[in-house]
């Protein structure tokens, strides 16, 4: 049976060339990068090279890049670290209602430490305005954290404008760019970003390795105690293999992002128009233009997301939903509720995310399989028959 992968916002397939390089390094470059002998220095060289690649992708300097164990660690490190380091200066943090749980739960933890957090609402497209951020700034605001692009609906936030406002008011600005890095061009200098989180597995690198960009001169309180790795900013023997993979993925993204994203965007647009044409009563969630090139998210009325995912899986299609049943909690996605969808509509959402491995065949296959699956679930749904009988 055909296997089609449409869950690239969850994770991507590693590039085979990266996996090969990592395998070789795992076997041969096992030295501790802190060692002064050749084997250690060989590993250190790999890490330095990867640091340069990540920096180039963001227009940062290599010394501004700190490797982490991934996106959640990066967000936690920045939120908790920046808040604690500035606790004497102020105790107010501004973020949005649609952030990833890594940011939201870190904020909740900070509230327990006595910090005050403003969760800005978003409009129907999932967007927060720079003016709303400015209006929320208080005398004791120490940190603004707004995601670069939303992981569910793909909306790209006005990061540059928010960064400008943060800088004007002397407040640190962090952006969780986990979904954006490697997919859209990012320039931390041009976009006034002080702190940024990224992770390798969202752009064809390995899982378990990420990085944070910390603008020169910014101090964060440490979360992990141990040795002096990463200039004392993140203790623990470096994951040389993972860091190599992140560096290679960054180099690949820098070289091919433009051509890939143009192709992916065309395929995604075909997918959106195909679904809107073939299925009645669907709504595209998120912003039509200001969105990641690989993201499509729909609400499909009268059906529930988990059943939809199970039937798609039986047809060889991997996708995801904001339904409560698939979120592991009892409530549907906080993002879909924040853009104003009623609960029953949020339960029936379908997220399809593409990558450079997605082909036109994959899109055609989905457009062939999805409509009858929706029709089948609707034929079972009392909500549908109450409306139409």
């Amino acid at each position: 049976m055909k296997e089609v992968y449409f869950d690239n916002a969850a994770t991507t397939k590693i590039l085979p060339t990266i996996a090969d390089e990592m395998y070789k390094a795992l076997l041969d470059c096992y030295g501790n990068p802190s060692g002064i002998y050749k084997l250690g220095q060989q590993a250190k060289k790999i890490i330095d090279g990867a640091r340069t690649e990540v920096a180039l992708l963001l227009n940062a300097s290599p010394e501004e890049i700190v490797f982490t164990g991934g996106g959640s660690e990066g967000d936690t490190m920045v939120l908790i670290g920046a808040a604690r380091a500035q606790a004497k200066k102020g105790r107010h943090i501004i973020t949005t209602a649609v952030e990833h749980h890594a940011v939201l739960h870190a904020c909740e933890a900070l509230e327990k430490e006595g910090f005050r957090v403003t969760y800005l609402p978003v409009d129907e497209f999932g967007m927060v305005g720079a003016q709303a951020v400015e209006a929320a700034i208080a005398e004791d605001t120490i940190l603004i954290s707004v995601m670069y692009a939303n992981n569910e609906i793909g909306t790209i936030m006005p990061v540059k404008e928010i960064g400008e406002i943060a800088r004007k008011h002397g407040v640190l600005f962090h952006t969780d760019a986990v979904q954006a890095v490697g997919h859209v061009p990012i320039d931390v200098k041009e976009e006034n970003i002080d702190l940024l989180t990224l992770t390798a597995h969202k752009f064809h690198g390995p899982k378990g390795t990420g990085a944070v960009y910390i603008r020169k001169g910014i101090r964060l309180a440490n979360l992990i105690y141990g040795g002096g790795q990463e200039k004392g900013r993140r203790a623990g023997t470096e994951n040389t293999t993972g860091i190599l993979g992140l560096g290679l993925a960054s180099a690949h993204a820098r070289q091919h992002m433009q051509e890939n994203s143009e192709r992916i965007r065309k395929l995604r647009d075909k997918l959106i128009s195909g679904i809107e044409e073939k299925i009645s009563e669907v709504r595209l969630n998120g912003h039509r233009e200001q969105r990641l090139p690989n993201n499509a998210n729909f609400s499909i009325d009268y059906i529930e997301g988990e059943g939809l995912l199970l039937l798609l899986d039986m047809a060889g299609i991997a996708a995801s939903s904001g339904s409560a049943c698939t979120s592991g909690s009892l409530d549907p996605s906080h993002v879909l509720l924040a853009i104003g969808l009623p609960h029953e509509t949020a339960h029936g959402s379908l997220r399809l995310t593409l990558s450079e491995f997605t082909t036109e065949d994959d899109i055609d296959y989905l457009l062939e399989k999805l409509p009858p699956i929706v029709a089948r679930l609707r034929s079972m749904s009392p909500l549908y028959s109450e409306k139409y009988n």
Binding site: E304, A324, L330, H343, M380, S381, P382, L383
Partner: protein
């Protein structure tokens, strides 16, 4: 995640549909929670001679609905009233723990349909307790 039996009932649900001349109909659940089950029964000589269901909900919700219709078909009213949500889950070789609460309401829907039938026919409903017509975790405020 799901047992083979759940997947089998989810893929090939029995007795799906709407009934025109039903003796009783029952609906439980709430769109807010993401699960609604509606069961129609036809009662002849105190037996459930036909049964149909419609469900808005996850795989477990559809599978439990399908299973309860199979278990209830041909049973007397008294026998059918003894079916519990737990018995339905067991007949499906179990459900993931998180699904036991929100998506396992099919026996409640059946019970609601039976009560509807009894009330329409002036028959006693003493001792039959209807669960609150909502999810069991209170997310819909029920």
């Amino acid at each position: 995640m799901y047992s083979a039996k759940v997947m089998e009932h989810f893929s090939n649900p029995r007795n799906v549909g709407v009934m025109e001349n039903f003796s009783g109909v029952g609906t439980v659940g709430n769109p807010v929670c993401g699960d609604i089950m509606k069961i129609f029964i036809k009662v002849e000589e105190n037996k459930i001679s036909d049964i149909k269901f419609q469900t808005f909900g996850c795989g477990a919700a559809i599978a439990t609905s399908s299973m309860v219709t199979e278990l209830a078909k041909g049973k007397t009213i008294e026998e059918a009233l003894k079916l519990t949500n737990l018995a339905v889950a067991e007949a499906l070789d179990g459900l993931p723990p998180v699904k036991m609460h929100c998506s396992n309401l099919a026996a409640d829907a059946l019970k609601a349909a039976i009560v509807d039938y009894l009330l329409k026919n002036g028959l006693p409903t003493d001792g039959i307790e209807l669960d609150k017509q909502c999810c069991h975790h209170g997310c819909c405020g029920g």
